[in-house]
Symmetry: C2
Subunit: 254 residues, 2 copies
């Protein structure tokens, strides 16, 4: 091993991560040049690393087309299942969808965004941009507001510091108003979102709390503003969130 | 860069892959020693690499507990969505579940096993070991047989060469019988599985075919052998598979 090996390890790990995260939702397959452009890694190195990653099944190559490997899907499923959340939440989400015929979400907070761990589309709900594994600005969603209302002050500060960009026609963009609403959500255990993420769409969310009263995730029901009565679905979401929180606190069953 | 760097790249990539694939479905978090034991990598190297991978968000560390990072879940979702299959299949799977109240699967072939890309549990179906991102021996499942019947001869040969281990009470373990059944499945476009994966459970599957007539995936309905009439759900599975194949051939919509 060369003396520089330890530092090289860090650089190479960063490069592996850069290649794996170079793909975005709209992509089908990428070529070596595009991977080099996106990752900032020299083409010759990309070529060599893609070869190694293909050998390991983390990437797949079909001629010049490079895709993420199916093995990453398998590993990724373990990553979320280790948290025990998705499996525990599934029956509750299915019940909510069945009872309301609208779309239900399970999401966690990652920085200033939410990541959807599960999305069950309802037959009466509008088509939504949310997808499993996808991200959305936290401040403009019901789940995001439910999570932020039950998060440390420093987390909320970080979101406000990043700004509150307008996402939907009624996104709350004033920091003072946003903080005030978080206080109400904290008191009620329910977050309403009315056209803050998208025109014509409303959402009711509730947090899943740990022993310390912090949110580990949130669930929501989303529907058409003209068709879904927020005040009628709110008790269902809140009840499901409380029951699911209890299940999670009782410990993982796998 | 040292002269040995190119080889080291390969070794390090293999080590990164070994660490990421060291986790199994039953695990919560693992420690450094257990990761070293499973991956065969010296503890000091595991320690260093875990640090790098944590920096990149591919692993997460909470004290001594090491977990797969949520970033891997996001990447993994892209890996399967690049194939366009899951998004295209979702409405068809939801319809099948609603119409039959049993559990529906979407799976692809990986070597001698199937990998489940999607599983929608039905209210009338038994609890099953199949889970999204999980694997199962191909020869003992409906989806696996549907896939093998429409795969190159070399793929079937590989499965037979690996042996046909008994999985359920009626798993087909005779190679001649298995080949004969694949011929019938190829002719019918329908694969029946009767207690071959698990006692009391039956399954009806149908392949999704590409232009060349090869299976790219398969869908199935699984239920109790005493409650689900295989001959009655078969037309629904076959119809959904044909419609979905047509949608996939028409090209990806993302």
């Amino acid at each position: 091993m060369c003396p520089a090996q330890r530092n090289d390890d860090g650089q190479l790990t960063a490069r592996v991560a850069a290649l794996l995260t170079a793909f975005s939702p709209g992509d089908d397959a990428l070529g070596i040049s595009e991977l080099a452009r996106r990752s900032g890694i020299p083409k010759s190195s990309v070529h060599r690393l893609v070869g190694h990653l293909t050998t390991e099944g983390l990437l797949e190559r079909d001629g010049t087309a490079i895709r993420l490997g199916l093995r990453l899907f398998e590993i990724g499923q373990l990553a979320v299942r280790q948290r025990g959340l998705v499996d525990a939440a599934r029956p509750y989400l299915a019940d909510l969808r069945e009872a309301t015929r609208n779309t239900v979400h399970l999401a966690v907070l990652e920085g200033t965004e939410v990541v959807y761990l599960d999305v069950l589309g309802g037959p009466d709900a509008p088509a939504l941009p949310s997808r499993i594994g996808g991200r959305f600005p936290a401040h403009a969603t019901g789940v995001g507001k439910a999570l932020l209302a039950h998060s440390p002050e420093s987390t909320v500060d970080a979101v406000l510091a990043a700004g509150l960009p307008r996402v939907g026609p009624r996104t709350i963009i004033a920091p003072g108003l946003f903080r005030k609403q978080l206080g109400k959500i904290r008191a009620d255990g329910i977050a309403y979102e009315r056209e803050e993420s998208r025109a014509g769409v409303i959402c009711v969310a509730s947090p899943l709390l740990n022993h310390a009263g912090s949110a580990v995730a949130a669930i929501s029901i989303t529907g058409w503003s003209t068709r879904m009565r927020a005040d009628r679905v709110a008790p269902a979401v809140r009840t499901a969130a409380l029951a699911l929180s209890r299940t999670l606190l009782a410990g993982p069953k796998r």
